[in-house]
Symmetry: C2
Subunit: 751 residues, 2 copies
């Protein structure tokens, strides 16, 4: 149960939302849930197919440009459209907006990895057909987007005509009111080839600026004799089948791009098509099911007691799997591959909100994400130089292949914390895997270069190490001094750089690295001093860490008296107004207390939570989950549950009003965090893995698995009992609340 | 002596600079010092004619737009070009870049108000002519730009051909590398009419967005019989004269615009031309001389001891007169009417750097500037609402007719101090004139609305009134809390609003106003409390006012070790880098100590000066003059003189490297301030006028006049003697250093 997302709306608003919700993807390729046959003329569908990291560059214009503002912005592209299939029933063109819809339902199958539409349609001329559309984006052959359509006449139908289109003349979505349309931001691809070859239709598109190629090789067939024709124009290829019904039509579309296949992009697509030639749609479905069985086996989270939340968390985990890049070229876009919001950029969302999900369930995927960041290290070094830093690397706030793509620096480039967030994710990976090779080959370099940047950014003053003029996670208070979150994360970053250096020294691996990274012990001591003397602003009266040096001195925003229509505040107030008040877009200090809970005592953490909660709008979708986790920790059960409720179904209920532009992937990761770090109280520290379970009283049971240092642990919380079972791997000691418990394979420990 | 600026360079760099330096204007109309006949083909001249406030609106695009960012930017337009006159000598087209230049010199006459070019030219075919070009922009008929050309053959010349052009197809200057060109920022006018009428050529241009009209009505004549033709195209009218032998050609161009003349702009231009019909160029020159005699009589500053500085200060005063708007529609653009830099916008430059010059010498002009600001009050109220303020008015950082035109808010809109700067200028005007009508009709409203804005912007905390998230004058440190300059100026603003309210109450004039402005005594008490409790950050250790709450906690920029090529810093460092350090673009706290010297004791003022001077780059042209004034006050004679030297000839020596884009008007005002407020130590306070003269030892004498409450006072400083003479008006007591002195008309007081 709760493995299917079913929808039957046909109004424009919901159709747009459902395009995102019912999108299919596999981390490489993503296709929005558009209708094959199209819409009525007044509906502006966002018809989209995306390849992770496949982008062009567009110019950024500024009213007043300042030094080192980025000139170009990378942009994920909507690529060749292969979704279209038009169906004519005795001359009546099928549409869900004409004739009579006797029945209509569409379903996304989270367990089987495909979507389907079942339609009973009566044409304007009274011809009735039953149709079933199924589509999948394969987890096994990542280049493949397959469509399968069954059409069964229900009364006297003479001819079924099927026109399958592949269209290379595509643009990104634009709003008429968007001033960037005119500057050519939408149309970034031109068709460089369109032909029939070896029985396939083949279209190649090329980007204007980056000169990247993408091809779509399509094979179609019907299971019936009839007539066949094709029509090729400069940019579109149509194939036409005429048969007498019932018929089954299939369309396999293979997408390749030059980021992965270089110059032979077209030839490689054809090769893949040949490999697929003998695979029926049923066989594709069966492969898909096998992949997902394997995924769900250890990734599923079972909630007994709330179907709606069960559905929410499964949907989120499924979408995370559909979005996450699994090759060295890609990461997780903030909207996954489900829409064009945020231009397909990668943010800190990955490291802080999504990577932990994979790290604890599918560590190979997590490792790939870290390697992708590592691949951006040279760009980050260059960016640091541009930004006036003599040493270190500064990761861009938003990017695809490494160039800073943020165009509003106070809430973009100024968020230096992304450096510490990335360092944190490497440290967490190491704590979970103890992968010494990884540490030596990648992690040390990332920690060294980020530590160096902190030294270059901050300065010592009166015995403290201070970091001025950065922006923390809260974008309603930009360009501040000594943001607690930034400073505490930078401290962690610096001291772990020291730790890793000494660890490698002990194991005699440091010499080569020292030369390579031009490291010396003096520099390492400076990191240690900066880390130890890091200034963490604290207010004695309130007993809380101040969000930054000046935050608590500002006027408090009166949230109670703010008109509901004025949320999110950023759409109704100038940044200066927001900066001038104690008001938070999202968890900031509270997030710092989650990620590094040992840096503050529990009273401070509680008081901080109470204080900041009252002035937080949660206008960012990254906020609820953190408040849920911390409410769990503090024993605020109602709040923990209520915030979790808001996070678990945020997109399914379109709570932020913009799901049409794509799913809120970080929030989806956050929902898992709220369960595993919140209700189950997971933490991974140097001392190992610990759990502090607190099952919501609304639930009967909660069950999930964790991977940790080669083990698989099943955790089941039921009423007041927690059962730990080591499913795979060697014996392990973990901590359950204040107690150490010893796990042996196959033996259930009840607590 | 020192009344003529003479130039003879013909290299491209200097030609561009000289276009600005030799520009002519009268506050309404401005014409750059371009050559009538044009240039060689590879020279990109900035050919410009401007009407103060005549503008169009262009779209501002942002990479990421935030709420209440302005959509449109006003832009001063280069209007119809009437400068062009081509001369052919027996078929050889005259150019300073062909043939042989036997002699060439051009001169701007500061005392007579015209410019001239004298050229002895030998054509490629060996024909020699002596030519004299004279031009003036009339102070008497503000619409008139007149050109007079004498051509005298020096050897055998058969025919002189003169082609006079008026060209309506004009654009603003653009750099090829300027990304805004493509978005149509340069071409903002189209020709709506071009014809011959009543013997004049008439061209009317219209702006694309604002639908404003400008016309140029031109009459030309020669003093010789010969042939005449004219050629009219869609956008250009050419008149051609062919004559033999010495000839004198004149061209009167009358510019009218719909901001001043409404719909009848063309007819009014023709009327003006008819009025000018009987005035010879000599008569125009004579009127001009009379106007300037009158101006210089009381405005001249005589420096005995340095010709170069004498020239500098006269040039500056002359350019101020050429730039200042004298009608209710215009103000002083930051580049005057000499170029297109800063889009012809009005800034705080007017109130703080230029208005005092007029206030103390030509108070009617000063009053007009204040009335112009008053005319923007409603726009400022609207802008305050956009910016989220429930009460008060927020003047835009840069504007022409009132709309905020700044596109980078940290160094634009965030400079809330402009409100207090404007209030300050009203208060100074009142102190100098004691104009009670003005106080009641305009000043009280400005003070009330600006006071209200401070209340709405700041807040009380722990017994202090604090103002968060604004930017002070120093644009290298943006968006700060409790900027000393802002706070001390806001305090002055608030307490004067209280003072004016009580003053009007005493004189029974407040009731009507109270209703009109919805004023009550409680509100006024709040202003008083806020003013009295205004937080002025002070550092006890250093004994200085901190520029803002966090400034002194930041790292100090090492100016000594900064590569010279890296100045101005803003062209070589990202804003965040600059914000992160103690480094100032310009006087900030030091300016606060100048404008409100009684708010700090002399030790604090001295220590502040010493401290901030060491970290100030003077990358803004508004800085040197303030440091000169304060160095004078503090007895730092060498520094006072050295800073004055940098300010007095800043444009004449192209010290900022961008004089080609227009003159630095505020600095020109600042040079006068450095003399009168610096070397002569003028201050105007409630107690009256005081002087604290300190003649630079490099000079033998300094002499100037001041107007004060209907009087004219002559001040002469010679060696150690200061002579005060009341030239006009009733007896007056002023302060000379610590001493009160009584002035009676005609009696020289020596001190």
């Amino acid at each position: 149960m709760a493995w299917a997302i079913t929808k039957s709306e046909l109004d424009h608003k919901n159709l747009l939302i459902n395009e995102s919700l019912l999108s299919l993807g596999n981390g490489y390729l993503g296709v929005r849930g558009n209708f094959e046959e199209g819409y009525d003329s007044d509906f502006q569908s966002i018809r989209g197919t995306y390849i992770n990291a496949f982008h062009d560059e567009t110019e950024i214009t500024y009213g007043e440009k300042q030094y080192a503002f980025p000139d170009k912005q990378q942009k994920l592209l909507n690529v060749i459209d292969a979704q279209t299939v038009q169906i004519y029933v005795d001359g009546d063109r099928f549409s869900l907006f004409s004739g009579e819809i006797v029945s209509f339902e569409r379903t996304l199958h989270l367990d089987k990895g495909y979507s389907e539409r079942k339609i009973h349609w009566k044409s304007p001329n009274g011809k009735e057909v039953q149709m079933e559309f199924r589509r999948l984006v394969s987890f096994v052959t990542r280049e493949l987007f397959a469509i399968d359509i069954k059409i069964e006449p229900l009364n006297d139908v003479n001819e079924l005509k099927i026109i399958s289109r592949v269209d290379g003349d595509v643009s990104n979505f634009t709003d008429e009111n968007d001033p960037r349309v005119a500057s050519g931001h939408a149309k970034r691809l031109f068709v460089s080839e369109a032909k029939m070859t070896e029985g396939f239709t083949a279209i190649k598109d090329t980007t204007f600026e980056t000169q990247l190629d993408v091809t779509c090789i399509t094979s179609t067939c019907v299971d019936k004799e009839g007539s066949y024709n094709n029509y090729i124009s400069d940019s579109v290829i149509e194939e036409e089948y005429k048969v007498k019904g019932p018929v089954r039509f299939s369309k396999y579309n293979v997408y390749t791009d030059s980021l992965r296949y270089g110059e032979n992009v077209l030839e490689e697509g054809i090769k893949i098509q040949h490999r697929l030639a003998n695979l029926s749609f049923e066989e594709l479905m069966s492969e898909q099911k096998e992949y997902l069985d394997n995924f769900w086996k250890l990734t599923d989270v079972k909630i007994d007691g709330d179907k709606s939340l069960q559905e929410g968390i499964r949907f989120n985990l499924y979408q995370l799997l559909q979005s996450v890049g699994k090759d060295p070229i890609s990461n997780i876009a903030s909207k996954g591959l489900s829409g064009e919001g945020y231009e397909g950029h990668y943010f800190w969302d990955t490291e802080i909100y999504m990577l932990p999900v994979f790290l604890m369930t599918n560590p190979a995927i997590a490792k790939n994400l870290l390697l992708h960041r590592y691949s951006l290290l040279n760009s980050a070094r260059e960016r640091a130089r541009e930004m006036g830093h003599e040493n270190g690397a500064l990761f861009p706030w938003r990017t695809i292949t490494g160039g800073e793509s943020s165009a509003f620096f106070p809430a973009g480039t100024a968020q230096y914390h992304i450096n510490a967030d990335i360092a944190y994710s490497y440290i967490q990976y190491y704590l979970v895997t103890r992968d010494e090779e990884f540490l030596k080959d990648y992690m040390v370099e990332v920690l060294v270069e980020t530590a160096r940047l902190w030294i270059d950014t901050g300065h010592f003053k009166d015995g403290q190490f201070r970091i001025d003029d950065v922006t923390g996670p809260d974008e309603y208070t930009c360009i501040v001094n000594n943001n607690y979150y930034t400073n505490v994360m930078a401290k962690h970053n610096l001291l772990w750089a020291v730790k890793v250096f000494r660890h490698l020294k002990e194991t005699n691996k440091i010499e080569e690295l020292s030369n390579q990274l031009n490291l010396n012990a003096d520099e390492v001591e400076l990191w240690e001093e900066a880390g130890e003397k890091m200034f963490l602003p604290y207010d004695e009266n309130l007993g809380i860490h101040a969000q930054d040096d000046s935050f608590l001195k500002k006027a408090r925003w009166n949230l109670e008296n703010t008109n509901k229509e004025n949320f999110p505040l950023l759409l109704h107030y100038h940044p200066l107004t927001l900066y001038r008040y104690q008001v938070c877009k999202q968890a900031d200090t509270v997030l710092g207390h989650f990620l590094l809970e040992d840096e503050a005592d529990i009273d401070t953490i509680r008081q901080s939570y109470d204080y900041y909660e009252a002035i937080t709008t949660h206008d960012s979708s990254l906020s609820y989950c953190v408040f849920s986790i911390m409410a769990s920790k503090l024993g605020y059960e109602k709040k923990a549950y209520s915030y979790f409720n808001k996070t678990a179904r945020l997109d399914l209920e379109n709570r932020h009003g913009n799901t049409k532009d794509g799913l809120h992937m970080a929030n989806m990761g956050g929902a898992w965090l709220a369960i595993v770090y919140g209700f189950a109280g997971l933490r991974v520290k140097e001392s190992g893995l610990s759990m502090h379970p607190r099952l919501p009283k609304q639930w009967n049971a909660l069950e999930f698995h964790l991977r940790f240092r080669g083990r698989v642990i099943q955790i089941k919380m039921e009423n007041d009992i927690v059962c730990y079972t080591l499913v795979e791997g060697n014996n392990l000691t973990i901590q359950h609340r204040e107690e150490e418990i010893h796990l042996e394979q196959g033996i259930e420990i009840r607590k």
